[in-house]
Amino acid sequence: MLIRVDPTRGAPLADQIAAAVRRGIADGSAAPGTRLPPARELAASLRVSIHTVLAGYQQLRDEGLIELRRGRGATVSARADPGHAAMVELARQLVEAARRLDLTEDDLLALVRQTARTS
């Protein structure tokens, strides 16, 4: 699985790492059961702090996409569905875009609800 981050982009590096893994799950290059690189190795590889990588992995675990086990590292969850991963990634992008436009959470939800009803 390919992870690309760019420190000059606005989004925090942890978010960028999580987004790359989500895209990997969505496009099938990280199938359920795939072991993600150990946090220490990925941190060295991307020249970021191990805490940054762990923060990204924790995001993914909270979304139910990966499992973190002590001593066994991070694996793509058996329940991680490519469609679900793609939806989470789209939702994140939607929220980011809303923030750039200074839309409130309620405004965004109203917009999504309206779109769902009319299309």
Binding site: I3, V5, D6
Partner: protein
């Protein structure tokens, strides 16, 4: 020099020829001595015809095995009939040399004897056979065309991935051979049982082989700004690294383990290889021309990324 090694398959037939000639023409006791113990005293006897038939059968079997191994190792998959592989030719002819000397000597000592039980095999025959085998092998290796050197695999180079100057990338993938892992665990368990129940030395040897299998059963390949890193086994050690400054280009190919002489970390003419299975592989050519071949899934992404990183440096 335009020397082409004859097919390795005929080596065992050449080795058995003098033995057959002696059996057919010389003055031999019947039955004759065909097997000798470690002191050189004859301990098994057989008739002339049976000995000749058995010898021919073994030689024919070896010929088939050598032929299959060589056929399997020559050229990339799908293309047969490449130049014979140097190492396999040397091993085949060397083995035939050893067999030829020992078998011929074991038959020749019967000549003129009236009673097979008095026949003895001189003790220098085995070391002499080994020496001849090594010599023949070395000669064949020296004379074989270097074009058959292994490790130089044709590789398709994918177009480089476009990378922004400030971007950091990391691609990694674990390739593993599940049946090697299973075999390793199995051997270690059997070894432990044998060590406790019967023979500690045999048991420890089995455990060692099992652990060695586990060590070569998987490898993690990483491509990032620093270049290529391959960590072998669950511990990621031994580790092979090719700094990005040393990378000339990267490509993909299909690998047959026989071409590299088996599985694991292989040192072959023209480079090194990490082989855990047959199939798609990443080939990295260094600036000095040496190649590193790693069997890994999705080598296209890795090769394109490496080419992109090389372009950016």
């Amino acid at each position: 020099m335009s020397f082409r090694t004859p097919p390795t398959a005929i080596a065992p037939l050449v080795a058995i020829a003098p033995t057959i000639a002696i059996l057919l023409t010389a003055d031999l006791p019947d039955p004759l001595a065909v097997h000798f113990d470690l002191t050189g005293t004859a301990d098994r006897f057989a008739g002339r015809g049976a000995t000749a038939l058995l010898g021919l059968a073994v030689a024919a079997l070896l010929a088939v095995v050598f032929g299959l191994v060589e056929r399997n190792a020559a050229g990339p998959p799908g293309r047969r009939g490449g130049p014979p592989d140097r190492t396999i030719a040397a091993l085949g002819w060397g083995t035939a040399g050893l067999l030829g000397v020992v078998l011929t000597a074991a038959t020749a000592v019967n000549i003129g004897a009236t009673d097979a039980r008095t026949v003895a095999l001189p003790l220098w025959v085995l070391p002499c056979g080994l020496a001849v085998g090594v010599l023949v092998g070395a000669l064949v290796a020296r004379l074989s065309p270097p074009g058959s050197a292994r490790g130089t695999v044709p590789a398709d180079a994918p177009a480089p991935t476009r990378l922004r100057p400030t971007e950091r990338v990391s691609w990694s993938r674990v390739s593993s051979a599940p049946w090697l892992r299973l075999g390793g665990v199995g051997l270690a368990v059997v070894g432990a049982a044998v060590a406790v129940a019967a023979r500690p030395d045999t048991g420890i040897a089995l455990i060692a082989v099992g652990l060695a299998l586990l060590l070569v059963a998987s490898a993690r390949t990483t491509v990032d700004d620093r270049g290529l890193t391959v960590g072998i086994g669950p511990l990621g050690w031994p580790r092979i690294a090719v700094p990005i400054e040393d990378v000339a280009s990267a490509g993909v190919t299909e690998v047959r383990p026989a071409r590299f002489g088996g599985w694991g970390l292989r040192y072959v003419p023209g480079g090194r290889a990490v082989i855990v299975r047959a199939g798609p592989a990443l080939v990295v050519t260094r600036r000095d021309g040496r190649q590193l071949t790693i069997t890994v899934d999705d080598p296209q992404t890795a090769a394109a990324l490496l080419n992109g990183l090389v372009e950016r440096v």
